[in-house]
Point group: C2
Chain length 221, copies 2
């Protein structure tokens, strides 16, 4: 019975790793379609999101079956509930990637991001991709090290968000109102993606180590 | 053992009802501080959010204990996992109310919402408050009827969001870029609040009836 539990959990973690990989692809393609307007690529991100929603349902059900069939004990319970939470967070990260792609599609063939903000958004996207990549690495290697590095990276997101507000709201804004609104919403989507990534990291560390790391200044996610 | 489970679950549902009540107060005060600039009120919403985060932790732990001690069977399992999800969604709704209050605080003593958009935001706030009120009523009465009415109301949110984008992005926008950006972000917060309310309603209906209603065109939340 116990060995069954560990095998089943391990197969769920493999599927979580797969799901994190799909989220990474979604964010890579969404930000690319945004920064180098590409309608097909944007459409691909939007239509692929259904696959993540399916995985969400499937893995939530799998975790419930594990709870029902294996009657896990206290620590195992928290592991499975954490897993359900990670599945949920990853699905939201997929939704946010699709939101980015929808703005790219809406403005195509124009650039949704004005050239003044391009370096800022390019870096925001890189940080998001790096974060989901660290989460995926922790799931693949069953090693918390990668996920632990995430708290550091996330602080850069806050700086990037302040910087782009400075550009939009400074007196000298050269873009249109529409471009300012797009930038504010896109910034929010990237920021939320990062928040969810941090939440994933915390739970993945718990799943792998059975412990919540102290002494790390995790942002509130 | 079984009667214990039902008593424990009932006490968790009472606490969920209490939590929903606090979220309702947060949204009532946040939108009031936004539409009638009031610094104290905005501060109160922001500082009260910590109480919702505490309740989140406390109720999640309570649900885990219920899982661990009562070894619930299949349907009960899904009920408890749904409860954990409702707790999470309510906490997010509290965060979003605090986000609204933060914009009110940032612009105080000015109005963050330009007068052209006031009726739109007033109605958005009313819809949000009505939605959380329906969820709370279902939890209080242990009756799905109120929660079932939510799908209808939520469609009005989409219309309201389109309407305010029409105002912001139409050629004749009279406000500043800052006001447009505030409006876009505020609209997003109200919209997300409503999305979470719909997610709460779906789970509350399940918790109360043991069934997910078919034939209702729930928005994707």
């Amino acid at each position: 019975m116990r060995s069954n539990y560990h095998e089943e959990l391990s197969s769920v973690l493999d599927r979580l790793h797969e799901m994190a990989g799909l989220v990474e692809v979604a964010m890579v393609e969404a930000s690319s379609s945004l920064l180098h307007p590409d309608l097909d690529q944007a459409e691909r991100v939007i239509s692929s999101d259904a696959r993540l929603d399916e995985l969400h349902e499937e893995l939530e059900f799998k975790c419930l079956s594990l709870l029902a069939l294996q009657a896990p004990v206290a620590g195992e319970l928290r592991t499975i509930v954490s897993t359900i939470r990670v599945v949920f967070e990853l699905a939201r990260m997929g939704d946010l990637s699709a939101h980015v792609a929808k703005i790219a599609r809406l403005r195509y063939p124009d650039h949704a991001v004005v050239s003044d903000l391009e370096p800022n958004f390019k870096r925001m996207a890189e940080v998001c991709i790096e974060m989901i990549d660290l989460a995926a690495a922790s799931l693949r290697d069953r090693d918390a090290k990668s996920a632990l590095r995430m708290a550091q990276i996330d602080t850069e997101m806050d700086t990037l968000r302040s910087e782009h507000f400075d550009v939009i709201l400074a007196g000298g804004w050269q873009g249109t109102t529409e471009q300012a609104v797009d930038a504010a919403l896109l910034g929010r989507y990237f920021e939320r993606f990062a928040d969810h990534a941090v939440a994933v990291a915390r739970r993945v560390i718990y799943i792998i180590t059975g412990d919540t790391p102290e002494g790390i200044d995790w942002p509130n996610a």
